[in-house]
Protein backbone atom coordinates (compact mmCIF):
# COMPACT_ATOMS: atom_id res chain seq x y z
CA UNK A 1 0.00 0.00 0.00
CA UNK A 2 1.08 3.54 -0.73
CA UNK A 3 2.78 5.15 2.26
CA UNK A 4 2.38 8.87 1.58
CA UNK A 5 4.41 9.78 4.65
CA UNK A 6 7.49 8.45 2.86
CA UNK A 7 6.98 10.63 -0.22
CA UNK A 8 8.21 13.80 1.45
CA UNK A 9 11.59 14.40 3.08
CA UNK A 10 12.74 17.76 4.42
CA UNK A 11 14.87 18.53 1.37
CA UNK A 12 13.27 16.51 -1.42
CA UNK A 13 9.89 15.26 -2.62
CA UNK A 14 8.94 12.11 -4.50
CA UNK A 15 7.56 12.49 -8.02
CA UNK A 16 4.46 10.47 -7.07
CA UNK A 17 3.22 13.49 -5.08
CA UNK A 18 2.44 15.08 -8.43
CA UNK A 19 1.63 12.12 -10.63
CA UNK A 20 -0.27 9.53 -8.61
CA UNK A 21 -4.10 9.71 -8.81
CA UNK A 22 -4.27 7.80 -5.50
CA UNK A 23 -2.23 10.52 -3.78
CA UNK A 24 -4.63 13.08 -5.23
CA UNK A 25 -7.66 11.27 -3.79
CA UNK A 26 -5.98 11.28 -0.38
CA UNK A 27 -5.24 14.99 -0.74
CA UNK A 28 -8.90 15.73 -1.37
CA UNK A 29 -9.86 13.70 1.68
CA UNK A 30 -7.13 14.72 4.11
CA UNK A 31 -6.33 18.27 2.96
CA UNK A 32 -9.12 19.92 0.97
CA UNK A 33 -12.00 18.37 2.94
CA UNK A 34 -10.27 19.39 6.18
CA UNK A 35 -8.92 22.87 5.60
CA UNK A 36 -10.62 26.21 4.94
CA UNK A 37 -11.46 26.65 1.26
CA UNK A 38 -12.04 30.04 -0.34
CA UNK A 39 -15.68 30.58 -1.27
CA UNK A 40 -15.67 34.17 -2.47
CA UNK A 41 -15.95 37.80 -1.44
CA UNK A 42 -19.20 39.08 0.05
CA UNK A 43 -19.46 41.70 -2.71
CA UNK A 44 -19.80 38.86 -5.26
CA UNK A 45 -23.30 38.32 -3.81
CA UNK A 46 -24.46 41.85 -2.93
CA UNK A 47 -28.26 41.29 -2.96
CA UNK A 48 -30.57 38.69 -1.37
CA UNK A 49 -30.78 35.64 -3.64
CA UNK A 50 -27.36 36.33 -5.23
CA UNK A 51 -25.19 33.23 -5.35
CA UNK A 52 -21.79 32.01 -6.46
CA UNK A 53 -20.96 28.32 -6.98
CA UNK A 54 -17.66 26.57 -6.36
CA UNK A 55 -16.32 23.14 -5.39
CA UNK A 56 -14.68 21.83 -2.26
CA UNK A 57 -12.89 18.54 -2.86
CA UNK A 58 -15.12 17.94 -5.94
CA UNK A 59 -18.32 18.61 -3.94
CA UNK A 60 -20.54 21.30 -5.47
CA UNK A 61 -21.12 24.17 -3.05
CA UNK A 62 -22.99 27.45 -3.26
CA UNK A 63 -22.47 30.74 -1.44
CA UNK A 64 -25.90 32.36 -1.14
CA UNK A 65 -27.12 35.61 0.43
CA UNK A 66 -30.40 35.26 2.34
CA UNK A 67 -33.33 37.67 2.71
CA UNK A 68 -31.83 39.20 5.87
CA UNK A 69 -28.54 39.84 4.08
CA UNK A 70 -26.58 37.01 5.70
CA UNK A 71 -24.22 34.96 3.54
CA UNK A 72 -24.44 31.18 3.87
CA UNK A 73 -22.59 28.32 2.19
CA UNK A 74 -24.52 25.16 1.30
CA UNK A 75 -24.04 21.86 -0.47
CA UNK A 76 -25.52 22.70 -3.84
CA UNK A 77 -28.06 19.87 -4.18
CA UNK A 78 -31.66 19.18 -3.45
CA UNK A 79 -32.15 16.97 -0.36
CA UNK A 80 -34.98 15.17 -2.19
CA UNK A 81 -33.52 13.49 -5.28
CA UNK A 82 -30.20 15.24 -5.52
CA UNK A 83 -30.55 17.71 -8.41
CA UNK A 84 -28.19 20.67 -8.46
CA UNK A 85 -30.06 23.73 -7.19
CA UNK A 86 -28.06 26.80 -8.27
CA UNK A 87 -26.86 25.91 -11.71
CA UNK A 88 -25.05 28.96 -13.07
CA UNK A 89 -21.50 29.84 -12.05
CA UNK A 90 -23.05 32.87 -10.39
CA UNK A 91 -26.50 34.40 -10.51
CA UNK A 92 -29.62 35.33 -8.58
CA UNK A 93 -32.01 32.65 -7.31
CA UNK A 94 -34.90 35.09 -6.82
CA UNK A 95 -36.90 35.17 -3.58
CA UNK A 96 -36.41 31.45 -2.99
CA UNK A 97 -34.45 28.52 -4.36
CA UNK A 98 -36.64 26.20 -6.42
CA UNK A 99 -35.56 22.73 -7.51
CA UNK A 100 -36.03 22.10 -11.22
CA UNK A 101 -36.89 18.42 -10.77
CA UNK A 102 -39.92 18.15 -8.40
CA UNK A 103 -40.38 21.79 -7.45
CA UNK A 104 -39.24 21.66 -3.83
CA UNK A 105 -38.77 25.25 -2.65
CA UNK A 106 -36.27 26.56 -0.11
CA UNK A 107 -35.88 29.82 1.76
CA UNK A 108 -32.68 31.70 0.90
CA UNK A 109 -31.37 30.59 4.29
CA UNK A 110 -31.78 26.97 3.18
CA UNK A 111 -34.92 26.02 5.15
CA UNK A 112 -37.48 23.88 3.32
CA UNK A 113 -40.36 26.17 2.39
CA UNK A 114 -42.74 23.94 0.47
CA UNK A 115 -43.14 20.64 -1.37
CA UNK A 116 -45.77 20.65 -4.16
CA UNK A 117 -48.79 18.44 -3.28
CA UNK A 118 -47.19 17.57 0.02
CA UNK A 119 -49.68 14.88 1.05
CA UNK A 120 -48.16 11.44 1.41
CA UNK A 121 -45.56 12.15 4.03
CA UNK A 122 -47.74 11.43 7.09
CA UNK A 123 -46.23 8.68 9.17
CA UNK A 124 -42.91 8.81 7.26
CA UNK A 125 -39.57 9.97 8.57
CA UNK A 126 -39.73 13.19 6.53
CA UNK A 127 -40.72 16.29 8.43
CA UNK A 128 -40.79 19.70 6.80
CA UNK A 129 -39.52 21.26 10.01
CA UNK A 130 -36.48 18.96 10.02
CA UNK A 131 -33.33 20.79 8.93
CA UNK A 132 -32.21 17.57 7.23
CA UNK A 133 -34.77 18.30 4.49
CA UNK A 134 -33.54 21.81 3.91
CA UNK A 135 -30.43 22.69 1.94
CA UNK A 136 -27.49 21.24 3.86
CA UNK A 137 -25.13 23.83 5.26
CA UNK A 138 -21.35 23.56 4.98
CA UNK A 139 -20.16 22.40 8.41
CA UNK A 140 -18.29 25.67 8.98
CA UNK A 141 -18.43 29.08 7.31
CA UNK A 142 -16.44 32.13 8.42
CA UNK A 143 -15.29 35.35 6.83
CA UNK A 144 -12.38 37.68 7.32
CA UNK A 145 -12.73 41.29 6.14
CA UNK A 146 -15.37 40.26 3.60
CA UNK A 147 -13.59 37.16 2.28
CA UNK A 148 -15.67 34.02 2.89
CA UNK A 149 -14.24 30.59 3.49
CA UNK A 150 -16.00 27.28 4.12
CA UNK A 151 -14.79 24.02 5.61
CA UNK A 152 -16.20 20.53 5.29
CA UNK A 153 -14.64 19.64 8.66
CA UNK A 154 -16.86 20.09 11.73
CA UNK A 155 -13.83 20.79 13.92
CA UNK A 156 -10.58 22.57 13.40
CA UNK A 157 -8.94 25.94 13.86
CA UNK A 158 -11.11 29.02 13.37
CA UNK A 159 -10.53 30.96 10.16
CA UNK A 160 -8.50 33.62 11.96
CA UNK A 161 -6.40 30.98 13.72
CA UNK A 162 -5.80 29.26 10.40
CA UNK A 163 -4.88 32.51 8.62
CA UNK A 164 -2.50 33.26 11.49
CA UNK A 165 0.06 36.02 10.96
CA UNK A 166 -0.36 35.51 7.20
CA UNK A 167 -3.68 37.34 7.52
CA UNK A 168 -1.48 40.36 6.78
CA UNK A 169 -2.26 39.67 3.09
CA UNK A 170 -5.98 40.37 3.51
CA UNK A 171 -5.23 43.19 5.98
CA UNK A 172 -2.79 44.82 3.57
CA UNK A 173 -5.35 44.69 0.76
CA UNK A 174 -8.21 46.13 2.84
CA UNK A 175 -6.14 48.62 4.88
CA UNK A 176 -4.98 50.26 1.66
CA UNK A 177 -8.60 51.23 1.00
CA UNK A 178 -9.47 54.57 2.61
CA UNK A 179 -12.80 52.98 3.63
CA UNK A 180 -10.99 49.94 5.01
CA UNK A 181 -12.62 47.44 2.68
CA UNK A 182 -12.55 46.24 -0.91
CA UNK A 183 -15.23 45.28 -3.40
CA UNK A 184 -14.93 42.81 -6.21
CA UNK A 185 -14.60 43.86 -9.84
CA UNK A 186 -17.41 41.69 -11.20
CA UNK A 187 -15.45 39.48 -13.55
CA UNK A 188 -13.90 36.09 -12.93
CA UNK A 189 -11.38 34.59 -15.31
CA UNK A 190 -11.06 30.83 -15.10
CA UNK A 191 -7.93 29.19 -16.47
CA UNK A 192 -7.22 25.47 -16.59
CA UNK A 193 -3.70 24.21 -16.05
CA UNK A 194 -2.75 20.72 -17.11
CA UNK A 195 -0.62 20.26 -14.07
CA UNK A 196 -0.84 19.34 -10.41
CA UNK A 197 -2.28 22.00 -8.08
CA UNK A 198 0.87 22.03 -5.96
CA UNK A 199 2.97 23.26 -8.88
CA UNK A 200 0.82 26.42 -9.04
CA UNK A 201 1.28 27.20 -5.34
CA UNK A 202 4.98 26.37 -5.35
CA UNK A 203 5.62 28.55 -8.38
CA UNK A 204 4.14 31.66 -6.74
CA UNK A 205 6.98 31.61 -4.20
CA UNK A 206 9.74 30.20 -6.37
CA UNK A 207 12.02 33.22 -6.62
CA UNK A 208 14.55 31.57 -8.92
CA UNK A 209 12.14 31.08 -11.84
CA UNK A 210 10.95 34.54 -13.00
CA UNK A 211 14.10 35.65 -14.81
CA UNK A 212 14.28 32.33 -16.64
CA UNK A 213 10.63 31.66 -17.41
CA UNK A 214 9.66 35.27 -18.17
CA UNK A 215 12.84 36.41 -19.91
CA UNK A 216 11.09 36.76 -23.28
CA UNK A 217 8.34 39.00 -21.92
CA UNK A 218 10.69 41.01 -19.70
CA UNK A 219 13.06 41.67 -22.56
CA UNK A 220 10.33 42.60 -25.06
CA UNK A 221 8.65 44.93 -22.55
CA UNK A 222 11.93 46.63 -21.62
CA UNK A 223 12.81 47.21 -25.30
CA UNK A 224 9.47 48.87 -26.00
CA UNK A 225 9.59 50.76 -22.69
CA UNK A 226 12.98 52.18 -23.74
CA UNK A 227 11.55 53.19 -27.12
CA UNK A 228 8.61 54.93 -25.46
CA UNK A 229 11.04 56.72 -23.13
CA UNK A 230 13.08 57.98 -26.09
CA UNK A 231 9.90 59.13 -27.82
CA UNK A 232 8.09 60.71 -24.87
CA UNK A 233 10.53 61.02 -21.97
CA UNK A 234 8.27 58.81 -19.83
CA UNK A 235 8.16 55.20 -18.76
CA UNK A 236 4.56 54.01 -18.39
CA UNK A 237 4.25 52.32 -15.01
CA UNK A 238 2.51 49.23 -16.34
CA UNK A 239 5.52 48.34 -18.50
CA UNK A 240 7.50 47.93 -15.32
CA UNK A 241 5.13 45.10 -14.29
CA UNK A 242 6.65 43.14 -17.19
CA UNK A 243 10.14 44.62 -17.62
CA UNK A 244 11.10 43.85 -13.99
CA UNK A 245 11.68 40.28 -15.18
CA UNK A 246 14.95 41.46 -16.72
CA UNK A 247 16.49 42.18 -13.32
CA UNK A 248 19.61 40.19 -12.54
CA UNK A 249 19.19 37.14 -10.32
CA UNK A 250 21.20 38.83 -7.54
CA UNK A 251 18.55 41.55 -7.22
CA UNK A 252 15.74 38.99 -6.87
CA UNK A 253 17.82 37.13 -4.33
CA UNK A 254 18.26 40.26 -2.26
CA UNK A 255 14.71 41.67 -2.53
CA UNK A 256 12.32 38.73 -2.43
CA UNK A 257 12.52 37.22 1.02
CA UNK A 258 9.80 34.93 2.32
CA UNK A 259 8.34 34.26 5.75
CA UNK A 260 6.93 30.76 6.03
CA UNK A 261 4.42 29.48 8.57
CA UNK A 262 3.67 25.92 9.74
CA UNK A 263 0.21 26.08 8.08
CA UNK A 264 2.03 26.13 4.73
CA UNK A 265 1.22 29.83 4.28
CA UNK A 266 3.98 32.13 3.07
CA UNK A 267 4.42 35.87 2.73
CA UNK A 268 6.63 37.01 -0.15
CA UNK A 269 8.16 40.49 0.07
CA UNK A 270 7.35 43.10 -2.56
CA UNK A 271 9.69 44.29 -5.31
CA UNK A 272 7.73 46.45 -7.70
CA UNK A 273 8.14 49.75 -5.82
CA UNK A 274 4.46 50.54 -5.94
CA UNK A 275 4.69 53.72 -3.93
CA UNK A 276 5.55 56.33 -6.54
CA UNK A 277 5.24 60.09 -6.05
CA UNK A 278 3.11 61.02 -9.05
CA UNK A 279 0.05 63.28 -8.52
CA UNK A 280 -2.41 60.34 -8.52
CA UNK A 281 -0.44 58.53 -5.82
CA UNK A 282 -0.16 61.65 -3.70
CA UNK A 283 -3.91 62.28 -3.99
CA UNK A 284 -4.50 58.69 -2.89
CA UNK A 285 -2.13 59.06 0.06
CA UNK A 286 -4.02 62.19 1.12
CA UNK A 287 -7.38 60.37 0.84
CA UNK A 288 -6.01 57.56 3.02
CA UNK A 289 -4.50 59.96 5.58
CA UNK A 290 -7.80 61.88 5.79
CA UNK A 291 -9.51 58.66 6.89
CA UNK A 292 -6.92 57.02 9.10
CA UNK A 293 -4.46 59.77 10.07
CA UNK A 294 -0.91 60.38 8.94
CA UNK A 295 0.75 57.90 11.30
CA UNK A 296 -1.53 54.99 10.40
CA UNK A 297 -1.23 55.85 6.70
CA UNK A 298 2.55 55.48 6.94
CA UNK A 299 2.15 52.15 8.72
CA UNK A 300 -0.21 50.90 6.03
CA UNK A 301 1.87 52.01 3.06
CA UNK A 302 5.14 50.74 4.49
CA UNK A 303 3.85 47.14 4.30
CA UNK A 304 5.69 45.68 1.34
CA UNK A 305 4.22 42.41 0.10
CA UNK A 306 4.07 40.84 -3.35
CA UNK A 307 2.14 37.64 -2.64
CA UNK A 308 0.65 35.80 0.27
CA UNK A 309 -0.13 32.12 -0.22
CA UNK A 310 -2.81 30.62 1.99
CA UNK A 311 -1.96 26.99 1.60
CA UNK A 312 -3.46 25.15 -0.20
CA UNK A 313 -6.29 27.25 -1.54
CA UNK A 314 -5.62 30.83 -2.44
CA UNK A 315 -2.95 33.29 -3.56
CA UNK A 316 -3.40 36.98 -2.74
CA UNK A 317 -1.50 39.88 -4.27
CA UNK A 318 -2.46 42.56 -1.80
CA UNK A 319 -0.82 45.71 -3.23
CA UNK A 320 -2.47 45.02 -6.60
CA UNK A 321 -5.72 43.74 -5.10
CA UNK A 322 -5.77 40.44 -7.01
CA UNK A 323 -6.66 36.99 -5.82
CA UNK A 324 -6.36 33.57 -7.37
CA UNK A 325 -8.30 30.65 -5.94
CA UNK A 326 -6.99 27.15 -6.62
CA UNK A 327 -9.55 24.48 -7.53
CA UNK A 328 -7.92 21.07 -8.02
CA UNK A 329 -9.71 18.89 -10.59
CA UNK A 330 -7.45 15.84 -10.82
CA UNK A 331 -3.82 14.97 -10.17
CA UNK A 332 -2.86 16.58 -13.48
CA UNK A 333 -5.51 19.27 -13.89
CA UNK A 334 -6.20 22.43 -11.89
CA UNK A 335 -8.56 25.35 -12.34
CA UNK A 336 -7.72 28.82 -11.09
CA UNK A 337 -10.28 31.57 -10.53
CA UNK A 338 -8.78 35.00 -10.97
CA UNK A 339 -10.31 38.08 -9.33
CA UNK A 340 -9.56 41.77 -9.02
CA UNK A 341 -10.77 44.10 -6.25
CA UNK A 342 -11.28 47.81 -5.93
CA UNK A 343 -10.07 49.80 -2.90
CA UNK A 344 -13.20 51.52 -1.60
CA UNK A 345 -12.67 55.25 -1.31
CA UNK A 346 -9.48 55.34 -3.40
CA UNK A 347 -9.19 57.55 -6.50
CA UNK A 348 -10.08 55.95 -9.83
CA UNK A 349 -6.47 56.27 -11.05
CA UNK A 350 -5.25 53.90 -8.32
CA UNK A 351 -7.77 51.28 -9.40
CA UNK A 352 -6.73 51.69 -13.02
CA UNK A 353 -3.08 51.17 -12.17
CA UNK A 354 -3.80 47.82 -10.53
CA UNK A 355 -6.15 46.99 -13.40
CA UNK A 356 -3.13 46.98 -15.72
CA UNK A 357 -1.76 44.07 -13.74
CA UNK A 358 -5.08 42.22 -14.01
CA UNK A 359 -5.11 42.84 -17.76
CA UNK A 360 -1.45 42.20 -18.57
CA UNK A 361 -0.50 39.48 -16.10
CA UNK A 362 -3.70 37.78 -14.93
CA UNK A 363 -6.04 37.86 -17.94
CA UNK A 364 -6.46 34.81 -20.22
CA UNK A 365 -4.20 36.63 -22.71
CA UNK A 366 -1.44 36.95 -20.10
CA UNK A 367 2.06 37.46 -21.41
CA UNK A 368 3.42 36.13 -18.12
CA UNK A 369 1.47 33.08 -17.03
CA UNK A 370 1.62 31.71 -20.59
CA UNK A 371 5.15 30.56 -19.87
CA UNK A 372 4.41 29.47 -16.30
CA UNK A 373 1.63 27.15 -17.45
CA UNK A 374 3.88 25.81 -20.20
CA UNK A 375 6.58 24.93 -17.68
CA UNK A 376 4.21 23.30 -15.18
CA UNK A 377 2.80 21.22 -18.01
CA UNK A 378 6.31 20.20 -19.06
CA UNK A 379 6.90 19.06 -15.48
CA UNK A 380 3.62 17.17 -15.33
CA UNK A 381 4.32 15.29 -18.57
CA UNK A 382 7.96 14.59 -17.81
CA UNK A 383 7.43 13.35 -14.26
CA UNK A 384 6.06 10.16 -15.79
CA UNK A 385 9.76 9.35 -16.16
CA UNK A 386 10.47 7.20 -13.13
CA UNK A 387 14.11 8.25 -12.89
CA UNK A 388 15.13 10.21 -10.92
CA UNK A 389 12.52 9.44 -8.29
CA UNK A 390 13.00 12.63 -6.27
CA UNK A 391 12.63 16.35 -6.99
CA UNK A 392 15.19 18.63 -5.38
CA UNK A 393 14.27 21.19 -2.74
CA UNK A 394 17.84 21.65 -1.54
CA UNK A 395 18.57 25.31 -2.23
CA UNK A 396 19.58 26.94 1.07
CA UNK A 397 18.32 23.99 3.08
CA UNK A 398 19.67 24.31 6.59
CA UNK A 399 20.65 27.97 6.30
CA UNK A 400 17.27 29.70 6.60
CA UNK A 401 16.44 31.60 9.78
CA UNK A 402 14.30 29.44 12.08
CA UNK A 403 12.31 31.26 14.78
CA UNK A 404 10.19 28.69 16.59
CA UNK A 405 8.00 27.19 13.89
CA UNK A 406 8.42 30.16 11.51
CA UNK A 407 11.05 29.98 8.79
CA UNK A 408 12.46 33.16 7.22
CA UNK A 409 14.77 33.19 4.27
CA UNK A 410 18.19 34.83 4.29
CA UNK A 411 18.49 34.40 0.53
CA UNK A 412 15.44 35.14 -1.64
CA UNK A 413 16.27 32.21 -3.89
CA UNK A 414 15.93 29.77 -0.99
CA UNK A 415 13.47 26.96 -1.66
CA UNK A 416 12.20 27.37 1.90
CA UNK A 417 8.57 28.14 0.88
CA UNK A 418 8.43 24.95 -1.18
CA UNK A 419 9.84 22.90 1.68
CA UNK A 420 7.40 24.66 3.97
CA UNK A 421 4.38 23.72 1.83
CA UNK A 422 5.42 20.08 2.03
CA UNK A 423 5.89 20.43 5.79
CA UNK A 424 2.19 21.36 5.97
CA UNK A 425 1.24 18.73 3.39
CA UNK A 426 2.89 16.01 5.43
CA UNK A 427 1.12 17.15 8.59
CA UNK A 428 -2.31 17.14 6.91
CA UNK A 429 -1.70 13.72 5.38
CA UNK A 430 -0.42 12.20 8.62
CA UNK A 431 -3.41 13.54 10.60
CA UNK A 432 -5.78 12.16 7.97
CA UNK A 433 -4.15 8.73 7.98
CA UNK A 434 -4.44 8.56 11.76
CA UNK A 435 -8.12 9.56 11.88
Amino acid sequence: MLNVGKLVEPDRVHRLCYTDPEVFELELEHIFAKTWVYAGHESQVPKPGDYWTFDIARQPMVMLRDAKGKVGVFFNRCPHRGAKLCTLLGGNAGKEVRCSYHGWRFELDGRLLAIPHDQGYEGTRLSKADAAFGMARAPRVESYRGFFFASLAKDGPSLVEWLGPAKIGFDDMCDRAPEGEVEVVPNCYRVIQHSNWKLFLENQLDVSHPMVVHESTGRAALDVEDEIFKRTGERPMHYHMLSAFTWPTSKWNELLQTTNYPTGHSVLGGYMALRPKDPDSLEYERALADRVGEKRKEEILSVNIHHVIYYPVVSVQSPLQQLRAVRPISHDKTLSEIWHFRLKGAPEAIYRRALWYYNLVNSPATMVNADDLENWNRIQRALKAETPEWLSLHRNYGTDIVEGDVIRTREGLSEAPLRNQFRAWKKYMAAGAKA
Binding site: V185, N187, Y189, R190, V191, I192, Q193, H194, V213, E215, S216, T217, R219, A220, A221, D223, V224, E227, I228, Y239, L242, L335, H340, E348, Y351, R352, L355, Y358, N359, L360, S363, P364, A365, T366, M367, N369, A370, D371, L373, E374, N375, R378
Partner: protein
Amino acid sequence: MSLEREVEALLYQQSELLDSKAWEEYIALFAEDGLYWMPPAPHYTTWEGQPAIFIEDRDLMTVRARRVGHSRAWSQQAEWSTNHLVSNIVIERSDDADIHVRSRFHMMELRRDAMRHFGGTYRHHLRRTPAGLRIKLQRVDLFNAQAPYDYVLQVWV
Protein backbone atom coordinates in the same frame (compact mmCIF):
# COMPACT_ATOMS: atom_id res chain seq x y z
CA MET B 1 -12.94 48.36 -56.16
CA SER B 2 -16.22 48.51 -54.26
CA LEU B 3 -16.14 49.31 -50.57
CA GLU B 4 -17.44 45.80 -49.82
CA ARG B 5 -14.57 44.20 -51.73
CA GLU B 6 -12.04 46.53 -50.14
CA VAL B 7 -13.25 45.68 -46.63
CA GLU B 8 -13.34 41.94 -47.36
CA ALA B 9 -9.80 42.09 -48.69
CA LEU B 10 -8.60 43.69 -45.45
CA LEU B 11 -10.32 41.08 -43.27
CA TYR B 12 -8.93 38.23 -45.35
CA GLN B 13 -5.48 39.76 -45.28
CA GLN B 14 -5.70 40.03 -41.51
CA SER B 15 -6.49 36.31 -41.20
CA GLU B 16 -3.61 35.39 -43.49
CA LEU B 17 -1.16 37.55 -41.54
CA LEU B 18 -2.23 36.02 -38.21
CA ASP B 19 -2.08 32.46 -39.52
CA SER B 20 1.32 33.01 -41.10
CA LYS B 21 2.62 34.66 -37.88
CA ALA B 22 3.47 37.88 -39.73
CA TRP B 23 3.06 39.89 -36.55
CA GLU B 24 4.69 43.12 -37.65
CA GLU B 25 2.60 43.28 -40.80
CA TYR B 26 -0.50 42.57 -38.74
CA ILE B 27 0.33 45.43 -36.37
CA ALA B 28 0.95 47.67 -39.39
CA LEU B 29 -2.73 47.23 -40.34
CA PHE B 30 -3.58 49.34 -37.29
CA ALA B 31 -3.67 53.13 -37.38
CA GLU B 32 -1.05 54.91 -35.28
CA ASP B 33 -3.64 55.30 -32.51
CA GLY B 34 -5.31 51.96 -33.28
CA LEU B 35 -6.43 49.55 -30.56
CA TYR B 36 -7.07 45.82 -30.30
CA TRP B 37 -9.71 45.14 -27.66
CA MET B 38 -11.19 41.88 -26.43
CA PRO B 39 -13.71 42.51 -23.62
CA PRO B 40 -14.46 39.80 -21.04
CA ALA B 41 -18.13 39.68 -22.13
CA PRO B 42 -20.37 41.21 -24.82
CA HIS B 43 -22.09 43.69 -22.49
CA TYR B 44 -18.95 45.82 -22.04
CA THR B 45 -19.24 49.18 -23.79
CA THR B 46 -15.77 50.55 -23.02
CA TRP B 47 -12.32 49.36 -22.02
CA GLU B 48 -11.75 52.47 -19.90
CA GLY B 49 -11.52 51.38 -16.28
CA GLN B 50 -12.79 47.88 -17.13
CA PRO B 51 -11.10 44.51 -17.18
CA ALA B 52 -10.10 43.40 -20.67
CA ILE B 53 -8.73 40.14 -22.00
CA PHE B 54 -6.74 42.25 -24.46
CA ILE B 55 -6.50 46.04 -24.60
CA GLU B 56 -3.44 46.83 -26.65
CA ASP B 57 -2.17 49.80 -28.59
CA ARG B 58 0.59 49.35 -31.15
CA ASP B 59 3.27 49.56 -28.44
CA LEU B 60 1.78 46.78 -26.35
CA MET B 61 1.11 44.75 -29.50
CA THR B 62 4.81 45.14 -30.26
CA VAL B 63 5.70 43.78 -26.80
CA ARG B 64 3.53 40.75 -27.51
CA ALA B 65 4.99 40.22 -30.99
CA ARG B 66 8.57 40.46 -29.72
CA ARG B 67 7.79 38.16 -26.82
CA VAL B 68 6.52 35.35 -29.01
CA GLY B 69 9.43 35.95 -31.38
CA HIS B 70 12.02 35.59 -28.61
CA SER B 71 14.11 32.42 -28.81
CA ARG B 72 13.25 31.61 -25.18
CA ALA B 73 9.51 32.14 -25.36
CA TRP B 74 8.92 28.68 -23.93
CA SER B 75 5.21 28.53 -24.74
CA GLN B 76 6.05 29.02 -28.41
CA GLN B 77 8.35 26.03 -28.57
CA ALA B 78 5.42 23.66 -28.67
CA GLU B 79 4.03 23.25 -32.15
CA TRP B 80 1.48 26.01 -32.45
CA SER B 81 -0.58 27.23 -35.36
CA THR B 82 -3.96 28.72 -36.11
CA ASN B 83 -6.49 28.75 -38.91
CA HIS B 84 -8.89 31.70 -39.20
CA LEU B 85 -12.09 31.98 -41.19
CA VAL B 86 -13.98 35.27 -41.51
CA SER B 87 -17.53 35.46 -42.76
CA ASN B 88 -20.93 37.19 -42.43
CA ILE B 89 -19.36 40.55 -43.25
CA VAL B 90 -21.72 43.51 -42.85
CA ILE B 91 -20.83 47.16 -43.32
CA GLU B 92 -22.87 48.75 -40.54
CA ARG B 93 -22.22 52.34 -41.49
CA SER B 94 -19.66 54.34 -43.43
CA ASP B 95 -18.77 57.77 -44.65
CA ASP B 96 -15.72 59.01 -46.52
CA ALA B 97 -13.33 58.61 -43.60
CA ASP B 98 -14.77 56.00 -41.24
CA ILE B 99 -16.18 52.55 -41.89
CA HIS B 100 -17.77 50.31 -39.27
CA VAL B 101 -17.79 46.62 -40.11
CA ARG B 102 -19.20 43.61 -38.28
CA SER B 103 -18.17 40.06 -39.12
CA ARG B 104 -18.01 36.58 -37.64
CA PHE B 105 -14.84 34.59 -37.19
CA HIS B 106 -13.82 31.06 -36.34
CA MET B 107 -10.29 30.23 -35.23
CA MET B 108 -9.00 26.71 -34.83
CA GLU B 109 -5.79 26.40 -32.91
CA LEU B 110 -3.42 23.47 -32.75
CA ARG B 111 -1.04 23.36 -29.79
CA ARG B 112 0.99 20.19 -29.37
CA ASP B 113 -1.61 17.53 -30.06
CA ALA B 114 -4.62 19.49 -28.80
CA MET B 115 -7.14 21.45 -30.83
CA ARG B 116 -9.08 24.43 -29.53
CA HIS B 117 -11.82 26.51 -31.10
CA PHE B 118 -12.57 30.17 -30.67
CA GLY B 119 -15.45 31.88 -32.38
CA GLY B 120 -17.27 35.15 -32.17
CA THR B 121 -17.78 38.57 -33.63
CA TYR B 122 -15.30 41.12 -34.93
CA ARG B 123 -16.23 44.78 -34.99
CA HIS B 124 -13.76 46.82 -37.01
CA HIS B 125 -13.72 50.58 -36.99
CA LEU B 126 -11.67 51.30 -40.10
CA ARG B 127 -10.27 54.64 -41.17
CA ARG B 128 -9.35 55.63 -44.68
CA THR B 129 -5.76 56.90 -44.89
CA PRO B 130 -3.48 57.71 -47.84
CA ALA B 131 -1.91 54.28 -47.29
CA GLY B 132 -5.29 52.52 -47.49
CA LEU B 133 -7.73 51.29 -44.84
CA ARG B 134 -6.30 51.14 -41.33
CA ILE B 135 -7.82 49.71 -38.14
CA LYS B 136 -8.80 52.34 -35.59
CA LEU B 137 -10.41 49.77 -33.32
CA GLN B 138 -10.77 46.03 -33.60
CA ARG B 139 -13.24 44.79 -31.02
CA VAL B 140 -13.25 41.01 -30.63
CA ASP B 141 -16.12 39.35 -28.78
CA LEU B 142 -15.42 35.68 -28.20
CA PHE B 143 -18.69 33.81 -27.86
CA ASN B 144 -16.81 31.65 -25.33
CA ALA B 145 -15.11 34.54 -23.54
CA GLN B 146 -16.53 33.58 -20.13
CA ALA B 147 -15.87 29.84 -20.46
CA PRO B 148 -12.81 28.41 -18.70
CA TYR B 149 -9.65 28.83 -20.76
CA ASP B 150 -7.83 25.59 -21.33
CA TYR B 151 -4.40 27.24 -21.38
CA VAL B 152 -4.25 30.91 -22.42
CA LEU B 153 -4.38 33.04 -25.58
CA GLN B 154 -0.82 33.75 -26.68
CA VAL B 155 -1.59 36.04 -29.61
CA TRP B 156 -4.53 38.06 -30.97
CA VAL B 157 -7.49 36.06 -32.21
